[in-house]
């Protein structure tokens, strides 16, 4: 069979296939569920999802609201960027915060990373899903992130209380989704399941997508704690005796709450430099997430509780 004219490169063909699968999942979620929502974490994966959602329903608007679980400890740049995205895509943004926990004085400094994450992310998310009555929530998780994710479905059933039961996952065949829910059950959809971290960056470059500037290198005030570089993003950072912030050329691979996100020293200040750097150093992405370290299978345990 003759090759078609202007055949796309292999790399483009991979991205095209991943893009088509993600759009299928987004359309299926919008069409098969009563009240879907997209989780928006402001990170690169979320940004790719917004772009995919815009493409899936173009030239119409994105037909579902987006939900940001705001712990109030996000980088300031992230909140600014969130505002820009709301403008650009005309988003119906809902923000979920566990105000009760904040009133009780829960912070990343006073509570262990695991307990803090449970209260400020898992509980806040569960409460928001219940409050708005969302029956399907779209998340940006990828199977390459962490080993328990490798068993995750694209359409992943949650039992009453948002529990994930790894032993009772629904079989997933062809492009056929069993969207039936019994009372209390909800669905989580992961359109980026088959994407790798590199795919996300290649796609960001190909589509010219904006990302939070924190992904690119800049001089930032940092302290070294437990072998990890933490950026002092605002004056709530509780410095330990003798700790003095030092400006270093750093960037982030993964963004979360600033006291819990480790920066890496890097000069990569553009998308091309970033991709070149990542192609040469192959460390797993969540190495920079402090919350994953506690306990051998902590992601799986968090997912069982309802974490994304």
């Amino acid at each position: 069979m003759p090759a078609p004219a202007a055949a796309p490169s292999v790399a483009d063909a991979v991205l095209d296939a991943l893009e088509a699968e993600a759009i299928w999942a987004l359309r299926e979620t919008a069409a098969a569920f009563r009240n879907p929502v997209m989780l928006y974490s402001i990170g690169k994966d979320s940004g790719v999802m917004l772009h995919l959602a815009a493409k899936a329903f173009a030239p119409g608007p994105i037909p579902f609201p987006v939900l940001h679980v705001d712990t109030t400890w996000k980088f300031r740049d992230m909140i600014t960027f969130r505002g820009q995205m709301v403008q650009q895509y005309g988003l119906d943004l809902r923000v979920a915060t566990n105000h009760a926990a904040i009133a009780e004085g829960v912070t990343p400094f006073t509570h262990g990373a695991q307990e803090y994450t449970r209260l400020m992310k898992t509980v806040a998310l569960r409460e928001a899903l219940d409050e708005y009555g969302f029956d399907a929530a779209i998340g940006g998780s990828r199977r390459d992130e962490e080993r328990s994710r490798a068993k995750e479905r694209i359409f992943s059933l949650r039992m009453p209380g948002h529990r994930w039961e790894p032993r009772r996952q629904r079989p997933e065949l062809w492009r056929t989704v069993n969207a039936q829910l019994t009372p209390g059950q909800t669905m989580r959809t992961f359109p980026l399941s088959n994407w790798t971290e590199m795919d996300v960056w290649y796609y960001v470059r190909r589509e010219g997508l904006p990302v939070v500037p924190l992904y690119y290198a800049a001089m930032r005030p940092t302290v070294l704690r437990g072998g990890q570089l933490i950026v002092v993003d605002d004056d709530r950072m509780q410095l330990e005796p003798g700790e003095v912030p030092v400006d270093r050329l750093v960037r982030f691979r993964s963004l979360g709450c600033y006291p819990l996100s480790a920066a890496i020293e890097s000069p990569a200040a553009t998308i091309d430099e970033l991709i070149a750097e990542m192609e040469s150093t192959r460390q797993s992405e969540r190495a920079g997430r402090l919350i994953d370290g506690e306990g051998g299978a902590s992601m799986e345990a968090k997912k069982v509780e309802g974490y994304f």
Binding site: R27, R147, P166, P171, R175, T176, S284
Partner: protein, 618 residues
């Protein structure tokens, strides 16, 4: 095409984890820190020296699985071929009790990787894996004859095994079977050509995977007409687009498309691929199209070229893999889901069960967990499903239990049994309305459900006398009476009870059409069966009455001596004792079977005659 989907089957004993781990490591598909972990961490009893990579650790799964040392579910991993193409590996557990997981993993696979242990040879499991791959439409099979180091890389042994495999695969419909001598532990012929098998000139495992696309077995294969299952409608100012993923064929601006089962068609005026204007689209593309003239299209419709239609039908012959813990029940109403299509459906018969090891067809009436069999399926309305061999997307379906919402079966259409265009119910001149006018009342089914001894027959008998006295045409279908004739071939298992209910419901439906008030007195213990019965009727024609009587009262009455038999173990399936009774959640009427008979009868008579009986929401 940039992505190849692979199903990897075999058990841990065959060295599957090591083989996949090595494929991942050698293609640099694993992060460096994970590799470092595999050099330092050791499982109890591991003989691999610290400092070398234990490749099997790279595919470690869930905590729940590690604790038990087993694999319970499919894991998905990614591998980059040297030319940049992507392989999505569905890593499926191999043991017999996980047949369903393997079938699920194979359902989207282009190629299968099967392991055979060189020392143990071709086993029952090998046959089973080959059969399931063929059933699920996998065209290319790579057999890795592993642990060749354990037989001294002996050419004779390999040739013997290759012949065995070829024999096993010959009866199945594969485009290509590649047999490769491998040592996953030593890395021989996995990603690099081994110098210990100089008698072998074929591809490595990695090369063989990459050759899958050259086989032309992709869904985009030429000559298959356009099929576009409609997922959703995209709306914007001055735009109404039909959106979905192109299941097959090639679509271009100006093409004509119609809705399967309808005569009208429109032309593609605007075509968006992944949200961007394009001139053409290929299978697998996410498209949105604008048609002129605009057609009345909704989710679940199938768009296709007018000259090459998929004719909708409502009865199909299909192969199914049973996935549910509960066995298949004849006559029970399931939801059939195929892409965006959702329709109530009934399995009307089981043709045979397939022994996946021998390939033999065995007589069977039910299918249980992990069984593979051939069935006939009837849908409530015609749907444009096609043979699975032609279209995986439009020929594959799942069955969903309506109460638990669980996916209980995966089905592959073989062919339509009846094209609904050819078989129509004859429109007779005297219809139900005419009969009801003559009778002076409506036909209706009053369905009394409850425990044995609850008083259903007593109430039905008294209600019929009262109705008869008012000049109403009536009939009582009593559980015991129908079992002497119509249903005398049925026992009391869950499956037989389902069939019992189905037949009685069908008879009741005919009687309602004759304008008769039918009183059904049937234990009918399962909600799903009663739901299926209700689905046969129009709203208002079916009145569910729960005759609620405490089981102690029923046991004390014991008019047929059944509870006494159950107490001695002579009757294991008695409802309320050995088998559950699922109470109705929202019946139209509840009567107390242990209260005054007149009250119950009055309520039933009223329900039989009320002009409007509002059906509770489903």
């Amino acid at each position: 095409m940039g992505v190849i989907r692979l199903v990897a089957c075999g058990s841990v004993d065959d060295g599957k984890s090591t083989l996949i781990g090595r494929l991942l490591a050698d293609t640099e598909s694993v992060p460096d820190d994970t590799l470092e972990m595999a050099r330092t961490v050791r499982r109890a009893g591991s003989t691999i020296p610290v400092g070398e990579i234990d490749f099997s650790l790279l595919t470690d799964g869930l905590e729940a699985e590690r604790e038990q040392g087993i694999t319970i579910d499919v894991a998905y991993r990614h591998l980059a071929l040297p030319d940049g193409r992507r392989v999505i590996i569905a890593d499926a557990p191999g043991h017999e009790q996980y047949t369903r997981n393997m079938a699920v993993a194979a359902s989207t696979a282009d190629v299968a990787l099967l392991l055979v242990d060189a020392a143990r040879g071709v086993t029952r499991q090998t046959f089973r894996h080959l059969t399931i791959c063929a059933l699920m439409g996998v065209h290319h099979v790579i057999i890795a004859v592993n642990k060749l180091d354990a037989v001294g890389f002996d050419h004779g042994r390999f040739r013997e095994l290759a012949d065995d495999v070829a024999g096993a695969a010959a009866r199945l419909d594969f485009s290509r079977v590649t047999v490769i001598p491998v040592s996953a532990l030593g890395g021989d012929n996995v990603t690099t050509v081994s110098d210990r098998t100089d008698w072998y000139a074929g591809p490595t495992v990695l090369t063989a995977i990459g050759e899958t696309h050259e086989l032309g077995v992709e869904p985009a294969a030429a000559g298959i007409p356009v099929r576009l299952p409609v997922q959703t409608i995209v709306r914007a100012d001055n735009f109404r687009g039909v959106a979905g993923t192109l299941a097959s064929g090639r679509l271009a601006l100006g093409d004509s498309l119609g809705v399967a089962g309808s005569a009208v068609s429109g032309q593609v005026r605007r075509l968006l691929v992944a949200g961007v204007d394009a001139e053409s689209a290929a299978a697998g593309d996410a498209v949105a199209i604008e048609l002129v003239p605009d057609l009345d299209v909704t989710r679940g419709d199938l768009l296709e070229p007018p000259g090459d239609p998929a004719v909708p039908a409502d009865r199909f012959s299909a192969d199914v893999v049973w996935l549910g813990e509960e066995p298949l029940a004849h006559g029970r109403s399931y939801l059939l889901v195929s892409g965006p299509t959702v329709v109530p459906a009934v399995v009307t018969s089981v043709r045979h069960r397939l022994d996946v090891t021998s390939g033999r067809e065995e007589a069977a009436r039910v299918l249980g967990l992990n069984d593979v069999g051939r069935v006939e399926v009837a849908t409530d309305r015609p749907v444009p499903m096609e043979p699975y061999a032609q279209h995986r997307d439009t020929g594959g379906f799942v069955l969903v239990d309506r109460l638990s919402a669980d996916t209980v079966a995966a089905g592959m259409v073989r062919y339509a049994l009846r094209r609904s265009a050819n078989v129509r119910s004859h429109d007779f001149a005297v219809d139900r309305a005419a009969r009801e006018r003559l009778n002076g009342h409506r036909g209706r089914a009053v369905w009394l459900t409850g425990l044995s001894g609850a008083g259903k027959s007593t109430i039905a008998d008294a209600a019929e006398r009262a109705l008869h006295a008012q000049g109403v045409r009536t009939f009582v279908l009593d559980g015991d009476n129908v079992r002497h004739g119509l249903n005398k071939d049925l026992g009391f298992t869950a499956e037989d009870r389902a069939e019992n209910v189905r037949r009685v419901a069908e008879v009741a439906r005919l009687m309602v059409a004759s304008g008769t008030v039918v009183l059904v007195a049937l234990v009918s213990p399962f909600r799903g069966d009663r739901r299926a019965a209700r689905d046969l009727f129009d709203a208002g024609d079916f009145v569910e009455v729960h005759v609620r009587t405490p089981v102690e009262v029923c046991a004390a009455r014991d008019p047929k001596g059944l509870y006494a038999k159950a107490a001695t173990g002579e009757l294991p399936n008695l409802t309320g004792v050995g088998q559950d009774y699922e109470e109705p959640l929202s019946p139209e009427l509840v009567v107390a079977g242990d209260g005054p008979l007149e009250e119950a009868v009055d309520a039933v008579v009223a329900a039989a005659l009320t002009t409007m009986v509002v059906q509770p929401p489903a």
